[in-house]
């Protein structure tokens, strides 16, 4: 089996992390990782990127937005009840 080049690895890393890489490809990737500290670092960076992305704080509605939406709801109830 031909050795995986670093340039190839960086393009299949998402398939690998998604668990959809074929068996042979996954084997080539693992064999490459065992001897390439740079690619090992690269995958760690991708994983770190995913962790940071997942940590982004949620958007919360401002008091003004909550007020507007409460009005939307009241309006809907009022319209519904008059029908």
């Amino acid at each position: 089996m031909e050795e995986m080049a670093c340039q190839e690895l960086v393009e299949v890393v998402t398939d690998y992390l998604e668990g959809v890489l074929g068996r042979d490809e996954a084997l080539r990737l693992c064999q490459h990782l065992a001897v390439c500290t740079s690619c090992d670092m690269y995958i760690k960076q991708v994983r770190a990127t995913i962790r940071t992305t997942a940590s982004l704080p949620p958007e919360t509605p401002s008091a003004a937005v909550e007020k507007q939406l409460t009005d939307v709801y009241r309006q809907w109830l009022a319209n519904r009840d008059t029908q």
């Binding site: 670093c6 670092m41 991708v46 770190a48 990127t49 992305t53 997942a54 704080p57 509605p61 009241r74």
Partner: protein, 211 residues
């Protein structure tokens, strides 16, 4: 996630139940809307219009899809329509570059010939010294948020749903009406670009110039 019982409360006129629903979906709705909107105000208008449509359609919701897919689908339809109306009045669409097929890493960083063809010339810097709490600091989160905001729209939508909101690939495909393979390509490009942005941030000297 909302249950049938909660929807009953909504129909009964339970304001607290409605605000509970609003709060639990606000984040994903605003994030999706922002991918279609020039600013936060327009995005929030789309969210408001979505809630009006959700309430109107409540009795028609048959639970065939998950409630959140249904609500987000309404938002996407509204935000898309608004964005099309707006871009029509602009000389050139500001949302381009969807056909972007740039590689995950600049080709100049690999050997171009010889026995080590395709191996690193300029490898990624070691992040082993970057502590986890630095990775999760607000400053780094801002770098990531900014990189995501600059992505082409479909990449932005996919990484938002998969990596920020934690949706499954199947649900993302369902909402955006794309094939799983396409979803994965968009996710790959998005993650690669965000990683590059972090690499530039952590090691500005090494890889600063290339974009």
């Amino acid at each position: 996630m909302m249950t049938e019982v909660d929807l009953q409360a909504l129909r009964r006129g339970d304001e607290a139940a409605f605000l509970n629903l609003v709060n639990s979906y606000h984040s994903v709705l605003v994030r999706l809307a922002r991918a279609y909107s020039p600013n936060r105000e327009v995005a929030e208008e789309s969210v408001q219009e979505t809630w009006i449509a959700v309430l109107r359609g409540l009795d028609g919701f048959e639970g065939r899809s998950a409630l959140r897919t249904w609500i987000c689908h309404i938002l996407v339809r509204i935000a898309r329509r608004r964005s099309m109306a707006e871009t029509r009045s602009m000389p050139f669409s500001s949302f381009g570059a969807e056909d972007d097929s740039s590689p995950a890493v600049d080709p100049d960083r690999f050997q171009r010939s010889g026995p080590y063809l395709g191996h690193w010339v300029n490898p990624p810097p070691d992040w082993a010294t970057v502590p986890e709490n630095a990775l999760l600091s607000q400053e780094v989160q801002d770098v990531v948020a900014e990189a995501i905001a600059e992505l082409p729209r479909n990449q932005r939508l996919v990484i938002t749903l998969r990596d920020i909101e934690g949706w499954s690939n199947a649900e993302v495909c369902d909402l955006l009406e794309i094939e799983d393979g396409n979803q994965r390509i968009l996710l790959h490009r998005a993650r690669s670009r965000v990683r590059s942005a972090l690499e530039r941030y952590f090691a500005p000297g090494v890889v600063a110039i290339k974009k």
